[in-house]
């Protein structure tokens, strides 16, 4: 039961989506639609699993007084606060006349989104700009021919995609040579390289999907070969 059922489910779900690509007729086309509906609902529950799991893990950390458990308290409090604000905004909207969305401009949930969630997530990722800067100073070296080619191409694209290198040569020529060059790199050598990588990856994904559908690959259901 523990192994056979999930294996069977995997194969059926996989076959429906693969076969209905070729056979639109009932029952394949129809089951594809039903399975599509299911996927969206299951994924929503998966997110909720994540939310509940975060609560569980943080709770355990506090109970065990693990190192830095105080931050787990903050996680739980802010999580619950967000849920409360979100649900109150949502149900207020549902019973309002006319109805409005939980995320409409002016709701408390939108306020939370704009003044807490947005700045935190945006700032978190914007730190990468600093790290790129320091890595370019301390780590990116033309240590071999490959790295050299990479840096040169990166240089031309970085300087050509914004009017930076073109401005430097502006006193000598009116042509936007570097912009054109960057554009050419993107559209020809880059597109060619990406395409080669893309075809390789496509075959890789195709082969691992095939193994999963045929039950040769079973790591997702907790078993090797």
């Amino acid at each position: 039961m523990r192994r056979e059922v999930p294996l069977f489910i995997t194969t059926v779900a996989g076959l429906v989506f693969a076969v209905s690509y070729f056979i639109p007729h009932f029952p394949f086309g129809a089951s594809e639609s039903i399975f599509g509906d299911w996927v969206t609902i299951v994924q929503a529950f998966a997110i909720w699993l994540g939310v509940l799991n975060l609560l569980k893990v943080s709770g355990e950390r506090i109970m065990r007084r693990s190192p830095q458990w105080q931050y787990s308290v903050i996680i739980i409090l802010t999580l619950l606060a967000t849920l409360v604000v979100g649900f109150s905004s949502g149900y207020k909207g549902i019973y309002a006349n006319p109805q409005h969305a939980y995320s409409d401009t002016g709701t408390q949930f939108d306020w939370l989104y704009q003044s807490v969630y947005s700045p935190l997530s945006a700032t978190m990722f914007s730190m990468l700009a600093f790290f790129v800067g320091s890595a370019s100073y301390r780590a990116f070296r033309a240590r071999n021919i490959q790295a050299t080619m990479l840096l040169i191409s990166g240089f031309l694209v970085m300087g050509g995609r914004v009017p930076l290198l073109d401005r430097l040569v502006a006193p000598f020529t009116t042509h936007t040579i570097f912009s054109d060059l960057a554009n050419w790199i993107m559209n020809y050598p880059n597109a060619a390289g990406q395409r080669a990588v893309m075809i390789g990856i496509a075959l890789g994904i195709m082969s691992s999907s095939l193994r999963i559908i045929l039950g040769i690959e079973r790591s997702h259901i907790g078993g090797g070969s």
Binding site: Y21, F22, I23, P24, H25, F26, G29, A30, M124, F125, M127, L128, F131, V132, S134, A135, R138, A139, F140, R141, R143, Q146, A147, L150, L151, G154, L164, R167, L168, A170, V197, I199, G200, I201, L203, G204, M206, S207, S208, L210, R211, L214, I216, E217, S219, H220, S225
Partner: protein
Amino acid sequence: MILQKSNYQLADFNKLTFPILASFLLFSSSIFPQAPSNQTIQTAPVNSVTDTAAIIPPQPPASVIVKDHPFDRGGAISISWEKSPDEVNDKVTGYLIMRSENQNGPFEVVGDAVRGSNSFTDNQTKDELHYFYKVDAFIEYLGANGEKARITSVSLPTGPVNSSPQWFNADRKWVLLFLGFVAASIIYFIERAKQGKSLYVRKIAGIDAVDEAVGRATEMGKKIFFVPGIQDMNDVQTIAGIAILGRVAQLAAEYDTWLEVPVSRSMVMVTARESMKEAYSKAGRPDSFREAQVHYLTEDQFGYAAAVSGMIVRERPATVFYMGAFFAESLILSETGNSTGAIQIAGTGQQAQLPFFVAACDYTLIGEELFAASAYLSREPRQLGSLKGQDMGKALFLVAIIVGVILATAHIFDLSTIFKVE
């Protein structure tokens, strides 16, 4: 305005500086003329008319064709037409598509199409019913009271037609053929590998360097770090990373060099310990393995990066491996390793991180090379067989491209029509 004034001063200042500094000074507005903005805004072309009698209905579209929408699960009919001759003199705003079960009506509107279009798909049909369709051109105008009004053409119904499902999508026969070929080769090679037939895998530069890197750590009497990425065991890259860890661990055990594996997932910790224990046994030193060599830090991305960088700075390992799924932390880690002078060998399938690894590490396994290396080292039939099967796919595509280009250049046959799927 303040802005313009300050830029004026700047332009004079410009002349006094070194040419090298131009990069920072060339940005004054005297060099950058502001883009002119003179485009006028178009509004929707609604003819404003006060005398409705002056409007003549447009001519209806010619030769309306209705047929079952091909290769679908039923429930759809395609309608196509030739554009109304009045489109050229701007007398058509759009088309209305109308449907009835009787030739004589009544017809109900099932869709509309904008000017310039010549087809529509009615996706709301029942397969068991027969339908008649009319396509009317219409012109929209503003009436005397400012309300939008329409005048439609008068056209004849076409039909009957009914929708039906199909058993095979013939547009996709070539996909079936090529997919079948690649799938069959994968299965064939997996079976061969299972039977113990040896399958050749070419040398991979980064893997050849592993011995050298481990040897160097031994000579220097320093540690080796192995970072298996920040994803869990459900990511194939992590699995490949752990396979390579096995090889590194075996060498480290043979040379008796301390190998340390900081991880960010508990599942990865368990698997890495298993794999290392096995490797140490293979090297004939099962007692040398300590569980503390693999330790869990944190699941948090930047927290993990900060902790590993701290370890690298403090302990100054001779060699650092990065094998698995990496995201933004790749930068922080490889930069730190580089600053301590460690030999760095990386491998990942995350395309966005590859440039940083190539620029900052000594060897990088690029995308598929990571999986190939893992298959090569583990000799696992599933991995080896798939690798071979995929190579067959690549060979097929390579031949197709070369032959196709030759045929196309000689104007003999356009092979791309076979590969193009719409």
